[in-house]
């Protein structure tokens, strides 16, 4: 019981770190494509971010199981890249079908972003990090959820900022992705400030 308690505590810590200090978007710059292209409005950014949280949590969990229960016993660790990708793709497909069928409202808000996420490198990245860092199952859940949440937070902040400065005059050469990357850099610096808050 004590071991489980410790693990849950570790999961919380990892989750917190994944949201702030080790934010997958701002420290590793994964998932930049939708980050720059879908961050014009807070509403759509929230939809995409929500989809990322959901998909990342569950794919990390599924991939952990596939890795530790299938690949490791067979000594096929090198195969994880391909396996993770097909698991993510299949999972997203199934979720899309379920949403489309049972919750048209949610599908309307979230579902149209799902195919975008299938090929999002942040999703695959989170699964690969969880292997490299040798997280346990429970910690992996915390990590997947935290990484998704961190991504959501970053894109929400970015969308908020971009909505604010949509009226301001950005030099011609920096409009669009240019200024977005500069802002992302400043945000990354700010997020480093969280280091040491929880250790």
């Amino acid at each position: 019981m004590n071991g489980l308690g410790a693990e849950i505590w570790q999961a919380v810590v990892v989750c917190f770190a994944a949201v702030f200090t080790n934010n997958i978007l701002l420290t590793t710059f994964l998932g930049m494509c939708p980050f720059t292209s879908v961050s014009r409005e807070v509403r759509t950014a929230a939809g995409l971010g929500g989809a990322v949280v959901f998909v990342m949590t569950f794919t990390c969990l599924l991939n952990w199981m596939a890795y530790h229960w299938i690949l490791v016993p067979l000594g096929l660790e090198f195969f994880r890249f391909i396996l993770f990708i097909i698991i993510i793709a299949a999972f997203v497909q199934v979720v899309e079908m379920i949403l489309d069928r049972f919750s048209p409202r949610l599908y309307q808000n979230l579902g149209i972003f799902l195919p975008l996420i299938t090929v999002n490198c942040a999703i695959l990245g989170a699964s690969l990090f969880m292997v490299i860092r040798e997280y346990s199952l429970i910690v992996t859940i915390g990590y997947g959820f935290g990484s998704g949440l961190g991504w959501l937070l970053a894109i929400l902040a970015m969308a908020g900022i971009r909505q604010r400065f949509s009226e301001s005059r950005v030099p011609a050469g920096l409009q669009g992705p240019g200024i977005t990357l500069i802002i992302a850099g400043l945000m990354a610096l700010a997020f480093i400030g969280f280091t040491g808050v929880l250790s």
Partner: protein
């Protein structure tokens, strides 16, 4: 070593197969919306298998909504009114619908998925529209750049159309055109001859479909088209009619004249047919036959620039000039125009000046 390889390959294949199985099961169980009832124009009901786009579902029921891009949501042609059950407007549709259309609940039928009962409204003529398969049975030179193609219907075996309507001929991919395209051509045959249609096609330089018709299509080849479309037909009024055509704009009038011949139409009708040179004129004998059959029909060929040595004794100059020379006023007439945009615009202007109001001028403009 070999065993290990086999085991690994098997393991990986099993995982992939399992995932595929899950997807197939989901597809069959979750994405299976069962039969859905689509109510068309408040009266006709069709039961379709749910889960597909409205455009495809209707196609399976032999109701063909015109679509240029084939359901990719880029052309915006397949608009229909969805009164009930269409769900919210999708981001893929908004760029192709005007504000007014959005308020009138117009949707793109290729983007609306059939998830349950639907009520939609489409123009009545879509019901009469079919897809036809035919065999090109005859290709005949009319001029140096116009040919008449005869298509014998194979499936369905007959077609019912109103003289003056057109069909969309499908041009398959060929060397020089990678995609299938459809082009509209007026039917130029007797509407009572319902087992075949004639099309009169003029070669367009670099035209995708006309190049195919002129260089690749051979007698005996299969063709397919959809139709009939269009509201260019002879109005049932007692007023005298003026027809004006240039080039292959002749086609719908051939069909209309057949219809008039069968009805022993006694209304006064004058047909001005313009060409650049004498070589551009065609079907003069057939027109003479119509003149003999219809006592009040007159055919006036017009040559814009007859070669000086030719023996052309008829009207010269533009068709519109010939009309102006032949009539002082055209009050109380109806105008029927078919030809290129330039000719239509010019003829509209002249007819308006001569006393035909816009609503009495019917035209079929080449795009």
């Amino acid at each position: 070593m070999v065993l290990e390889i086999i085991r690994d390959v098997l393991a990986v294949s099993t995982v992939a197969a399992f995932l595929t199985l899950v997807l197939i099961l989901c597809e069959g169980m979750i994405s299976n919306y069962g039969p859905c009832e689509v109510t068309l124009n408040g009266s006709r009901k069709e039961t379709v298998q749910g889960g597909k786009s409205l455009l495809l579902s209707l196609q399976e029921k032999k109701i063909f909504i015109p679509s240029a891009c084939g359901g990719r949501g880029t052309c915006g042609v397949c608009k229909v009114k969805v009164l009930e059950g269409g769900g919210p407007l999708l981001p893929t549709e908004t760029p192709l619908l005007t504000q007014r259309e959005q308020q009138a609940s117009v949707r793109l039928s290729c983007q609306v998925k059939v998830r349950g009962p639907l009520a939609i409204e489409i123009p009545e003529e879509f019901f009469r529209m079919h897809q036809y398969r035919a065999r090109c049975s005859r290709i005949e030179d009319l001029t140096y750049d116009m040919k008449r193609f005869t298509f014998e219907l194979t499936e369905p075996e007959t077609i019912s159309f109103t003289a003056g309507q057109y069909v969309q001929l499908r041009c398959p991919p060929y060397k020089g055109s990678r995609e299938e395209v459809s082009r509209a051509y007026s039917i130029a045959s007797d509407p009572l001859e319902n087992r075949r249609i004639d099309l009169i096609i003029r070669r367009v330089p670099k035209g995708i479909c006309t190049t195919w018709c002129f260089e690749y299509l051979r007698e005996g080849d299969p063709v397919s088209f959809t139709g009939p479309f269009g509201d260019f037909y002879l109005r049932d009024t007692q007023t005298p009619k003026l027809f004006i055509a240039g080039g292959s704009g002749l086609a719908p009038f051939v069909s209309i004249l057949w219809q008039m011949k069968h009805a022993a139409d006694g209304r006064q009708t004058v047909f001005f047919f313009g060409g650049n040179r004498m070589e551009d004129l065609c079907l003069l004998d057939e027109m003479k036959a119509f003149e003999q059959a219809l006592p009040n029909f007159r055919f006036v060929p017009v040559v814009a620039k007859p070669a000086s040595e030719s023996r052309w004794s008829g009207q010269t100059g533009l068709v519109t000039e010939a009309v102006q020379r032949s009539f002082e006023r055209l009050d109380g007439w109806e105008g029927y125009l078919c030809g290129g945009p330039g000719m239509i615009e010019a003829a509209m202007r002249v007819l308006r000046q001569m006393g035909i109001p816009d609503e009495k001028i019917y035209y079929d403009k080449f795009a």
